[in-house]
Amino acid sequence: MMAAPVESVCKPSAERSPFSATSFQKKSRSKLISIPGTRPSVQNGQLLVSTGVTSLDFLLGGGLAVGTVLLIEEDRYDSYSRMILKYFLAEGVVCRHELFVAAAQDNPDDILQELPAPILDDVAIHKPAEQPRLPCETHDSLDSMMIAWRYQNLPKVQSALASSSRFGHYYDVSKTMEPEIRQAAKCHRFYLPEHPTESSTTRSPVLKSYSALLRSLQEVIHREGFDVAASMAPLAAEHRCGAKNVLGFLGGSHIGSLSDRLSSRSPPEFENTTQDISTSLKYFKSSYSSISKSRNILRIGLHSLGSALWDDDLSCHDNPTHRHSLTAFLYGLRALLRSSLSVAVVTVPSHLIQWGLLLTLCFSVTRYDSGL
């Protein structure tokens, strides 16, 4: 009689690693999704990520809300704005977020190589957990602890949170990030000269270079599953056609069997409806599987958008021919990010732009003046 409950208690704990054998779970205060390197906003519960600059996070009200765009007006020599962009990307590397870097001037790889080195207190983030030492090994080091020697044999406990799940880090600009840390992050690159775009002859509202970038972004967001996950996130204002409710009823396997049954038993007159249902269920199924994957944040860094190297004459002429191109791109970007687990930092050389462009499309605009 007693064996069954004991077995059921013991079984899951035996499957776990020895370090997580405790069944004690603290009652969590928030029911929001938890992704390393994010936290909910104190004001409105929006999911925030750090810009990498702790003081800038404070100015923005805690951090950058996921699904928004931060536009940075470049300083004249692009030294401070570039630094902010690098901090933003470095923060993503430390938090194991995915990155998307787009540039026209420098190769994105060059930007990634210049990332500042994080100041981490737990250097061993990529090393396996320390094994508890055997008593015989400690003989040599007995003298190392004079007073508190009784604690010598106790395994070292990491009492602070692992730095990858903390919010906001500090960086040493004088050093660059070690390649091992940098290469651990998944990074998507968009370097405009490698994406040949024929000069636009059709009068489309968005330049070829911008639409290529937007398409590439869209593809990454769809492929890596950053889009659907957002329907579960509290930040999305509108949930897509009640997808959440359907998913609440049906597990992933149920959806599959149900759609099979529907398609096999359908009378011909209901074929179309059944097809619709089964395709929509397939959609839900695929979205469900991508949700059940571990969620992550995509950090998008777009460098010097609107400069002449992006084929844009916005910064060259007082009366540019593509005057709405950047604006249209920003609209598209905002719409794309709004329903995704991604966040963008865009730098724009606004000191070159003569045409009075209203950059009110972005969530927040930060202007940097270089102190020269």
């Binding site: 603290k26 007995l142 020697w149 949170l161 400069s307 002449a308 004459d313 060259c316 050389p349």
Partner: protein, 297 residues
């Protein structure tokens, strides 16, 4: 600063000499050509504005066999049947071909564009920017020097070109007849920006004489170093130990310090001892300083 730039532009550098109707920058450009020739570099000049004779005039003393003049002066837009160089040839492929054709492959090459203004009149600024950026990336040309008449273009065009440049020299008329003021902005690879203003004049043999620095925006000279004082020098009590005192101190047996054997016995864990398993999570990050940290806000 100006002499440093004349000694050589860094690899992958783009130097822009900005001038206006009030003060021509061509003399300075000639000085740069001369300096590059004296460094045994091959210099390719794309000349839209002056003829070859006028450009070579004044540089008799220097070795001119490495100076290659590409004549875009006589027919810049390709109206005749055999133009040497036209505005529309200003792209990476044509320029690479041009440079590889005429110069020794191993020599460091400097490309001089006289002037960018001519090209900007006929080619879109974004195309010019793209070509300049490609030239910066290296390959055929080690460094590029371009003359730009800033008052001929819209502010944004000049800004876009200068945005790409590693160094910008803006030439303005000086107080005396033969003097000129150069405002120099240099961007180093690390992203550091140095700005300086210098008054200079150019002698007959095209050497640049810097008269004075008009202003100095570099870092201020650090003051005389503060004398380091030893805080333990004049104390009323003794902080130091002599050797015999230290020996006596180390001999002293402290309470609760046990021998190795006893320590090992005490440290050896019995079979029934427990272990504390603890996993930190985000909720452990309790801030004692924050009175509202326990509230569900």
């Amino acid at each position: 600063m100006l002499p440093e730039l004349l000694q050589g532009v860094d690899a992958g550098g783009l130097l822009i000499i900005q001038d206006s109707a009030g003060c021509s920058g061509r003399h300075l450009l000639k000085s740069f050509i001369n300096a590059a020739l004296n460094r045994e570099e091959a210099v390719h000049v794309i000349g839209f504005e002056v003829s070859e004779e006028e450009l070579r005039d004044g540089s008799q003393g220097s070795p001119t066999q490495r100076l290659h003049f590409h004549n875009a002066f006589s027919d810049p837009l390709g109206w005749t049947d055999h133009p040497a160089f036209t505005v529309h040839q200003f792209n990476l492929e044509e320029l690479t071909h041009l440079v590889k054709q005429t110069s020794h492959p191993k020599a460091a090459t400097t490309l001089v564009i006289d002037s960018l203004s001519w090209i900007l009149r006929h080619v879109s600024p974004s195309a010019v920017c793209k070509t300049l950026q490609q030239l910066k990336k290296g390959g055929a040309v080690r460094a590029t020097i371009g003359l730009l008449h800033a008052d001929m273009h819209q502010r944004g065009t000049v800004g876009s070109i200068c945005h790409l440049a590693t160094s910008v020299i803006t030439v303005a008329p000086g107080a005396k007849g033969d003097e000129a003021v150069a405002k120099i902005t240099k961007r180093s690879k690390s992203g550091k920006v140095i700005q300086e203003e210098e008054i200079f004049n150019i002698k007959e043999d095209l050497t640049v004489m810097v008269q004075s620095k008009a202003s100095h925006t570099g870092p201020k000279q650090p003051g005389p170093e503060e004398q380091e004082t030893d805080p333990t020098a004049n104390l009323t009590f003794n902080l130091r130990l002599s050797d015999t005192e230290r020996e006596a101190k180390e001999k002293l047996a402290l309470p609760f310090v046990f021998s190795k054997a006893k320590k090992t016995a005490l440290l050896h864990l019995g079979p029934g001892s427990g272990r504390i398993l603890y996993e930190p999570d985000a909720n452990d990050d309790y801030d004692q300083e924050d009175p509202d940290d326990d509230l569900d806000v």
